[in-house]
Every structure is written in C-alpha cells, then in structure tokens.
Symmetry: D5
C-alpha cells in the first residue's frame, strides 16, 4: 500500500469517527501540524506513532506500514497551487520572496532558514475585527560555508 492510499483510508476513518487532526495528534503524541503532514503523506512515522494512528482509527497494519515508509515529499499537483487557501502562501513567496532574502541576509549573513531542523505552528489569535491566522515558520539558520 502506498502513502496516498493510506491517506485516503485515514481521512475516511477520521471522518467516520468524527475525529479531528488535533485528537489524532494527541494520540500520536506529536504536534497537530506535524501529525497532519504525516497523515497526508509528507513525513515518515515511527512504528509507535503509526500504531497509535491505526489503533485510534481502527485501520489495519498495512496502513501502519505505509505511514512508516519514506515519503516522496510534495503535496501539490504543480508549482502554482490552484486552491485559494494554499495559493495565498504561494503568493506570499512570490511577493515577499526577495524581501525575505534581503531581511534574513542582513540579519544573519549569507545562508538560509533550514527546512529540516524546522517546525511550523498555526495559531488562532482572537481579534474583534476578525480572528487571525498566525503561521510561524521556525528553522535553524544555516550559514553557507566557504571552502
């Protein structure tokens, strides 16, 4: 079973049992964002993590094995997402890409933000003018080493 099929079975069972990603994350003992990305085929779970998922959702061991398999990362159909929610993030990279490079280089020197020693947080900030989505990208700075 490949990770995409496992994802379908997980989402179906999740919907049938009325569970949220946060509740599954709690069972897995990981952050909601990481757990969600693992269930969507973008991470490699440990055996304990995968077992927790299939136990909670009542799925069989084929799914658990797929969740532990290495990921072929990349969740989109093409370089420009068509879904508006995802597109906003693409748009931010398009509009602020050179800005982020300039600000990070000025503050840190030549290098970049790691996407492996990295985490994402999504927070809801209550606001009378409309609640806000806060997405926090947090990665170690990786300097370019000269040789």
């Amino acid at each position: 079973m490949d990770k995409m099929r496992a994802m379908e079975l997980v989402l179906e069972a999740k919907s049938m049992k009325g569970l949220t990603f946060s509740e599954i994350a709690e069972a897995v003992d990981r952050h909601t964002v990481w757990t969600t990305s693992a269930l969507l085929g973008q991470q490699q779970m440990s055996m304990t993590e995968a077992d927790a998922v299939v136990d909670l959702l009542g799925l069989d061991m084929d799914v658990a094995r797929a969740l532990q398999a290495p990921a072929d990362k990349g969740s989109l159909d093409g370089p420009v997402p068509t879904d508006p929610l995802i597109h906003r993030f693409h748009e931010i990279v398009q509009v602020y890409g050179t800005t982020l490079r300039s600000v990070i280089q000025e503050e840190f020197g030549d290098g970049l933000m790691s996407s492996t020693d990295f985490r994402i947080d999504v927070e809801r900030i209550a606001d009378p003018a409309g609640d806000r989505v806060r997405v926090i990208l947090d990665g170690r700075f990786e300097p370019y080493r000269k040789w």
Copy 2:
C-alpha cells in the same frame, strides 16, 4: 522612472552609505519587512514615506514618485525560485500546503488567511545549537461567504 529602476538606485545608494534596511525603516517609520518590500517594488509608499527614503539616501524626486506608484506585485522570475533561500519557502508550500489547508480549515472552517490584512515578521531567536530564523505570517481569517 519605473519601480525596478528606483529599486536599483535605492540599493546602490544604500550600499554606498552603508545603511541597513532597518535604518531606512526607522526613517520611514514602518516595520523593516514592510519597508524592505516597498523598496523592492512590492508596495505603494505614501508621499511622506517616499520622501523619508529619498532624503535619507540623497536621491531625487523621480525615485520618490516611483516609490509612490502602484506596484505590479511579484518579485520572482518564475513560479519556482532558483535561489536556495527563497526556494526553501517554496518548498514549505509544496510540502506543507495541504497540511496548512487541513489545519486551518479544521480550526477556522471554510476560508483562508488574508494576504492583504496581513503582516510578516522575521525574528532571530538565539539558540546555542545555532540561532533560529522565525518567520511569522499573520493575516485575518477570511471565511467563504455562501450566497
């Protein structure tokens, strides 16, 4: 004068005078990220903001006018950035795009994070294992209205 030419003159003067984006931002009385994106041609400055820039950098009024012109937003040459620093953000959208959609929809319902009522912050988090880059995307949640 178009905004790209203004950007070149601004960067040249900034380099000659040894100023940082933060110092220009202070003169403009705006956040460093916003000011940088405006100098890189992605925002529309007010007259006061543009005047502060040309005063500080010793540039003429043509540059100020260009900084106040409407922006044709989009700072990259194509949909997939080749510069590694910028590419990491593209990669994050590729890998975590469906995750962000799932997590935001579960928390907020059908809608998305605004990219207009929106701000970006870049912070340096000191860490003995290597300082960390923290990029905070913060936008109002925009629910889909049915009709």
Copy 3:
C-alpha cells in the same frame, strides 16, 4: 468517496431526472451559481444543504458526505482553459487584467476585490440584437494594510 466521484453521480442523476441546476438550487435554498459550484466540487456544503441534494436526486449518504467535505478548489485542467466558453473569461483577464488593476486602484486605493466575501451572478438580458450574458462579480474591497 471523493468530490469528483460525487460530482459524476450528481450530474448523472440530474440528467436522468431531467432537473436543472436552478431547481436543485431551490431545494438547497441557495443561489444557482453557488449551488452549481458546490455540486461541481468547489464548495463545502452544510449537512442540510447536502441532504437536500441527495434527497432530491435519490442518491445515498456517501454523496452527501462528499459534498460536505472540504474542497480542493480549482476546476480546470491547466492555467489556460481550452474550452472556448471558459477561455473567454481567461481572455478577459489576459486583455483587461492591467486595466482592472488600474481602475480599481484609482477608485479604491491599494487593495483588491475579495474572492471569499464574494458572489457571482449570471443574468440573461433580453436584447433584440441577441440576448446578452451578464456576469456580475461582487466582492468586498480588501485594502492592503501597512505595518
């Protein structure tokens, strides 16, 4: 069941029963355009709305569940539609894109038309020289906030 399969079953049943999108929209108690886009997999129905659809069309609850699932929005195969009817709208964006930006910015300032607090209407205007299609796009203006 995914939304694409649900769409196929809905269209098949609609054709068999000889119903129009407007008649389904009436049962759903929503506008024809919104209802059609929901049936074509681009919106997330409430339980009541989805139940109205499957009741009217004699479909089972799997379809109703799919209609309530979050949408991966985007109804076309690529960025440039080949179907001539849809292409005309793409052509309008190509030809009048910069015009719309200039006119909206001049009238409203820096910002854009929301596509979430948004509705579309399609009207038939009788005209002796040939009836006219009137498509009305109506979205809240979203100003860019500086920070």
Copy 4:
C-alpha cells in the same frame, strides 16, 4: 513608436498632471474602463479619441499614432498573473470556470459570452461592512451554429 512606449509616456504625463483615468475618459468621451484599456495598449483608438488624449496630456503626434495602431492584445507576462489583484480574477476563472459553463449552457444553450460585442463596468458599492467592488461583464450570447 510602439504601443508600450506610448503607454509609458501617457502614464508619466498623467502622473505629472495629476489626472485620473476617469478624467481622461471624459475627454475621450468613452467609458473609463474602455479608455484605460486603450491607454494600456489593448484597444485601437480613433483619430478623434487619440487626439483628445494627446491634447489633454500635452504629448506629441507619435503617441497619437501609436494609440490608433492595431493592438497586439494581452496585458500580462504569462498565463498565471503574479499580481494579487489580477490573480483574484484568474482564481475566479479557475474555481468557477466549469460553474459558469454549466450555468450559461443551461440558461442559453450551447454557445458562449462574446468578448467582442462586450463591455466591462466597475462599480463601487458603498457598504458599512466595507465597500464592495462590482465588476460587470456583459457580452452578447453567441450560439454555436451547426452545419
């Protein structure tokens, strides 16, 4: 002189004189949207219309000649606009493309909305919850003729 160069000179003069597109449109005696699209290189002006432009803006006859030249229509750099304001219209075509086809075909039969016997209107609708942008696309229905 080509139409792109004419556009640059027009926009520069317009900015220097502090004129709006609406004021130029009044001088040209055409709708603001049509006039703007002509100034942005997407239409072919008559001699009277072009003369009114150069008179008002104090430009020379080369510009007038360019405004009367046939247009190589298409105002964007690629099929997917990067500017967020323009992108929202692309997004609407992506998300609602098949919906528009279904609704128009059901109402009118096999055919499409003309983009030549066609006009666009942009209106500002005052609204306490935030003013609204209303874009009205209005074209004759063109039925497919069988043979």
Copy 5:
C-alpha cells in the same frame, strides 16, 4: 457515461461496421466535419442527431445521452500537438498568426473571425502534381464594440 467513453464505443462500432464519417453524417443529416467533431466529443448533438447515430451503429441509449451532453471542448493533450498532421495546423498559426491578424484587420477593421458562427469545410482538389487538401474556415466577422 462521459463523452470520451462514448467516442470510443462509436469508433469501435464504426470500424466494425466498416462505416465512414461521411456515411454517419448522412444519417445525422449534418456536414461530415461537424458530425465527426460531435462524435469526437466536441459538440452537443440534438436528440434526433444522437438517435440517428446509435441507430446506425447499433449502440445503446447511454451513448445517445452522452452525445447530447454539453461538451468540454478541446481535443488535444497539450498546446503543441505532437501528431504531424495536426501539428501542421499549429505551425500555420505560429508562422501566419500575425499575418492573418494584419490582413483581417486591414480588410475588416478591429475585430476577429467568430469561432461560433463558424463552419469548416475540407475539400479534395484533384491535381496532377498531387491532390490538394483545402480546408476552409468560414466565420462571421465580429467587430470590437467600443463603450
């Protein structure tokens, strides 16, 4: 049943019965080119036309229903056809595109050839130096209306 599946069944039956497109067109009482394009999924047949097809070919009513369904027009896999016969037409648009625009604009003014009030004819012209293919594209001129 979708139009692609109907096309497969039609072509299979046509081949089994040894019929030509012209013979089917005669039964449908339409031109060979229009009938062929309808059988290849690019047009919407009336009930009478579709019934004539399934009667002649011995197919069932599912096929007839599919032939009457609205078409998602576009018969190629991508913008540049690889099949040499079809590519020649693409090549003609590439090489003579600006020529056709110049000649049509000079003769007719600003506008274009309709592709809805339109027909195609294919004729065989006997020629001792090798018979010739004559493809006649014939559409109403559609002038751009100013507003």
Copy 6:
C-alpha cells in the same frame, strides 16, 4: 539588420505613407497574404521583390537585404497566442484538431497537408447577417511513404 528591425521600419514607413498591405503586394507582384507574411519576417523575398518594397516605401538597401535573408519562422511569443484574433485560430486547432485528422485520413489515407507547397487566402464574403471572414488553407496532400 535583422528581419525584426526591418519589419519595424517597413510598418512605420507603410503607416507614414498610408499604404495598405494589398498595395505593397501589388508592387511586389505577389498575393497579399504572402507579401504580408514576408514583411512580417516569415518568408524570404527575392531581390526583385525586396527592391520593390524598399522602392515603394523609400527605405534603404539594408532593409532589402534583411527581407532577402532566410527567415527564422514563427511569429508568436509562445505556443498559446494571447491576442484574441490569433487565439481563435489556435482554438480551432484545439477543438477541431482530431476532427481534421479523422476527416483528412478518411478521404486521403495516411498523410498530411503540406505547409510548404501551400497557400493561404483570406476572403471577405458579404452577408446581410454580418460579413464573413473566409480563410482558405490549401496544401498538397503528402502521403506517408512506407519503407
């Protein structure tokens, strides 16, 4: 001087002198379509033809030499034209491509319409319901030779 620069000079002089493509074609003693395509850089003129052009338009011998140079054929910026007039021809290839292949193959056997032993005619057909554009593509049939 390259053919693109020659084209610009030719179009400028043509506009200044108020000549039509047909009038230039008469001087060249070739068909209007062929002459136009040669002036737009898509054909290789003979010395006599090129001389006739520069004589009529009052241009110098550099232009004549460029008109006689071999052409790098292809008049469009990309595979999908954005200009609506040219796009209609692209659309016809998209929608009727497989139809043309089927009809030509059935009539002629395996082969294709030559685009070298080939001519295009554009005719205006008066019609009370709106004059019609008739574009005639006429090429020798080239059978595939087996070996």
Copy 7:
C-alpha cells in the same frame, strides 16, 4: 483495443517468443525501423502487414485491427525526453538545429526536409575504437512555394 494496448501485447509476445524486431520486420516485409515504429504505435499497417504480425506472434485479430488503425503520432511523454538515449537526439536538435537550417538552406534554397516522403536507417559501423551508430535521415526536399 487502442494502439497502446496492442503495443503492450506485441512486446510481451515478442519477449516470450524471443523474437527480434528484425525478425518481425522480415515477416512483415518492411524495414526494421519502419516495422518497429509501427509496432510502437506510430504508423498505420496494411491488413497484410498486420496479419503477418499477429500470425508470427500468435495474437488475435483485435491486435491486427489496432495495428491498422490511424496513429496518433508522438511516442514521448513530453517535449524534452528524459531517457538518455532518446535525449541525445533531442540534444542534437538543440545544438545543431540552426546549423542544419543554415546548411540545408544554403544547399537547397528555402524549404525543408520532408518527414512524410521520408525514411530512417540505423546502421552499425564496425570500428576498432568502438563500433559506431549511424542514423540516416533521408527525406525529399520540399521547397516553399510562393504565391
């Protein structure tokens, strides 16, 4: 049965019977290159040729019918082949494309090498420094006819 499925069955049977393309070509009484391209779905066989194939390989008449069907020519997944052997030919077109045009035009005048009145030969040239692959492309010169 479509030509792709026929190709799979042919290749499977060929492999099972341990036959080479040359041996099949001999049975078909055609050149190895032409026969191979026909078996790979790029040509239209006569009934005799197709019957020889299915007789030799022990396949049924469905395969023979598919081999006689018109081909939708084009054997690659995209414009740039990834397979290194095939890519070398693409590379040769990339590197020597303008050279081939210049040399052919200088020798023959304005025109091109036919790809229909055309044949390919592949020869093995023994060489102590490593045997050589010789691919011979041989097509009638097709002059551009002016009109």
Copy 8:
C-alpha cells in the same frame, strides 16, 4: 565580445562578401557542418581556425577570441522549435524516439549514441522525383557500464 555578437558580425560579413558556409569551411579546413555550427556559437575553435575565419571575412581579433571561447551550447529559444525546418527534426525525435531506442538497444545492447565522438553530414541526393536531403548522424556507441 560574446559568441552571439561574433555570430552576428560573421553572418553580416559573410553576406556582404557573398561567401558560403562551405567556402568558409574550406578556409578553416573543417567540414561545412562543423564550421557552420562553430560560427553559430556551438563549438570552440582553435586559434588557427578562428584566425582563418577573421582573415577571410576581414573581421578583427575580438571576433577571433570569441570564436575560441567555450560555448554555452544550445541554439534554440525553447524545447519545441517553431521554425518548420528545425521542427521536422524535433518531430522525428517525437515520433521515432522510442523506435530509435528499441532498434539501437536490440542491435548494440544497453547504451547510446555518443554526441561528442560524433559527426553530422548533410548530403544532397539527386532524384528525379525531387532531390533528397540526407542527414547522417554518426556517433560511437557508448555502452552503459555496470558497477
């Protein structure tokens, strides 16, 4: 001076002096195809070869230096050539790509035709039915080495 500028000067001088590629090749003492590709910027000439070119054409040493510079090989604007003469070669790769792979692998085993230990010949074969273009690609077979 870069190789593209050198190419322009070479072609201009060649045209002025009425020389053919073959005559230049004779002066360079190399094959016409190789010499042409070197003049078109695709090869690296030796000092002797480059000197022979500038001597013959009366160009200065900057051109000679550019002809000796390493080449950034690739003579086309994109992966699919629009020029019909060059496109035929692309078409041949598209249609016969998998055929060439099958025939070469069957004859030689796993490997490919070198494009470095490689030569191209273009011959004119007189033929009463129309002279033929013969293009001979000749490269050492390079077997894949396992490890």
Copy 9:
C-alpha cells in the same frame, strides 16, 4: 509486467522481509547504488542478476523478466523535483552548473563527463559536527571530436 509494477513488488517484498538495498546488492554481486537504481527501474539487469533478486525476495519470474527489460530511464515526475532530498541535487546543478562547466573545461578542454562510462558512490563520513553525505560522480571524460 512493466518495470514500475516490478519495482512495487520488489519494494513490498523487501519491506516484508526486512532487507536493505545493500543486502540485495550483495546477493546481486553489484554495488548498492547500481542495484538500487536497477530495482527502481533505471537499469537493465542480466538474467543472473535478476534471478538473484527474485530468489532472495521470493518473487516470480515475471518480475525477473521485467528487471531484464530495457529501461525507459528517468525516475522523476518533472524537471524540478519537489522532494527536498532530491531537490538539493537539482539545486546544486542550478547553482553550480556553469561553475562545473568552467572548471571541467579549463582542466580537460572541450568535452564532458560521460554518464554511461560512469558510476556513483555514496559514502558516510563520520564527523563530530554531524556525519556527512559524500556523493561521488565518476565518469570518463569525453572530448568533443571536431570533423
């Protein structure tokens, strides 16, 4: 059975039996990198090699036949890999492509590194600051031969 299906069965059996690529490589008596690439469909195994695989993994002869079939090389979905591990190699080609050309040309002259008389090694270099991945690409230099 095609090579992709064989790959799936091999990976499934490998996972079930808890074998590593190195262990399979040992049974095949080839390097781990070569063996892995063969199992992933990129090489052509000999009968002995393929038999060793199916013996070790308990698969049937269909798999062995597929492993011996010629490869349609190319393991990625598109030209820009989305998986971050693979993307780093693409990035290295993007950033260091012209550097590698300059350094190799200066050291070796005009030519390139063979990708057929070629091997890849992957080594783990222990390092207290974090172990290092060393990827060694090793191919015969192939000089361009002039003719």
Copy 10:
C-alpha cells in the same frame, strides 16, 4: 554594477591576462570550485577576497563591490539545461534521483544532504582508457526533526 556585469568584466580580464580559475583561486586563497562559482555570481565574497580578485585582474572597485553583494543564486536559464556538459548532471538527477533518496535514507534515516554546509571538488583521475572526471559532492547530513 550587478553581479552579471561584474562576471563579464572578470571573464574578459581573465581571458586577456591568460589566467586560469585556479590561479585566481590561489590569489583569493579559496578552492578553485568555490572561487569560480563566486566569480560566476553564485557566492558572496568577503572584502579581502574581492580585493584580491580586482588586484590580480586590474579591475576597479565597482567590480569588487559587486563581488561582495549578496547573490541571487541560480546560474541557468531554465530548469532543463541545454548545454550538454551541464545537462549530464541534470540527467544524473533525473535518472538517479530516487536511487540517491533510497540509498541516503537507508544509510542515514529521514533527512538530506545539506547544500549550505557543503563543498564540491572536481578531480582529474588519470586512466589509460581515458582520463576520468570525478565530482565529489560533500554535505553534512541534515536529519528531519519531528515536533
């Protein structure tokens, strides 16, 4: 002055003075590969390094400033290089991409090879059967951190 212009001046001076990249690298006191990539606009030099370059080559301080500017990394025109030498590296990523992922993941676990804490070496290995190019990519392993 931008980095591309600086690169041109550096390459011109280097050619005039007959220096190699290795000799410049020695003056800069860095590895030849790193120095070359910096001169080709892909790295950010320190003041000392840049001064050494302009001293050696006799260039002015504008060039030195450009060499110290941050790089917009990416040395190629598109995702698929056309130059054969560079293309071989692209081909290696295409063919061995999934192999490298499998081998690295099996040896190191979930993670990737850093492209910042990274170096490239190019070595010439003498070999009687033809000298070999050895390219060594060496980067710290970066494990994915879960959260």
